[in-house]
Subunit: 145 residues, 2 copies
DNA sequence: CGGGAATGATGAACCTGGCTCACGGTGTAG
DNA sequence: CTACACCGTGAGCCAGGTTCATCATTCCCG
């Protein structure tokens, strides 16, 4: 019999390990977690207004200003005028930013492949399914509250 | 076929959800994440020097000073003289601190039970085993680097 | 036993990542 | 044209981290 709290601990343990790996990546690339996160979102969504980045990252718009300032200073993104709305700016990755996004993706993929390399496909499927159900259970739990 | 990166994403997703739940707990109890974490460790290890807390939390000793200051101000812990080493202080939970630690444990256990309630025991066992193997794989990966 | 090195906690100064509130510029619906 | 809504940002705050320097104590070795 496996005790649920022990399983939860394992999940959290794995998450912190992945976080450690991300930190290593950041050290190498000179990015911080939040800026890497912003770049990640930018890579997924393409050039975006700061508002949309704020809601995607689930932080305040003011905070995005600061992150974009930092990424601008390090040459990863630039602020381009929005083609139709003169209030907004389009945060756009530079060549350096694109490269960082690509490395981020590759690092993520490589980590995932290495982590699960030893797990047979059928067990990985069970694993993923259980995760899905658990996430769903969580969502239901949050709604009730 | 389940793609490894997608599985990794699910793990991280679940971890952030759990993090959200922890944040809710903090709001209710007036604690912050780091202080709750310190209390958690304190509950597991019993009265400790700040040094040992620092290494358990993996942060600088200086930082622990600040966290203990905060927890002291909110009445969760007190600094007691170390019985044999007059340089050190023993960070000790007060009655209020003990209560918070108990609530922390209960909340954690309840969450785990609710999350995995719907998962049959055999599948949970596979899940836990896969997690263990993955964590081990990770440790091996880190060593090589 | 005595003196130099290690250790435990903290003050000072700094950075990042968050937040809110206020404000100026722009868009848009009446 | 006027009012309202929305985008970005300045100002100011807090928590959580860091390093470096300092002081008291402990420990160890000659």
């Amino acid at each position: 019999m496996v005790s649920p709290p022990a399983v939860l601990d394992r999940v959290l343990h794995l998450a912190t390990l992945v976080g450690t790996d991300l930190a290593r990546f950041e050290d190498e690339s000179g990015l911080t977690t939040s800026r890497a996160h912003l770049l990640w979102v930018l890579g997924a969504a393409g050039p975006s207004t700061q508002q949309s980045l704020a809601s995607a990252l689930n932080v305040s718009a003011r905070n995005v200003t600061g992150l974009v300032d930092g990424l601008g200073a390090s040459g990863h993104v630039s602020r381009e005028p929005h083609p139709t709305d003169r209030r907004a700016t389009l945060v756009t990755p530079t060549a350096k930013g694109e490269r960082a996004i690509r490395e981020l993706r590759e690092s993520h993929e490589q980590l995932a492949r290495q982590l699960f390399a030893h797990v047979p496909a059928d067990r990985l499927a069970v694993f993923a399914a259980t995760l899905d159900e658990t996430i769903t259970a969580f969502a239901r739990l949050m709604e009730e509250t």
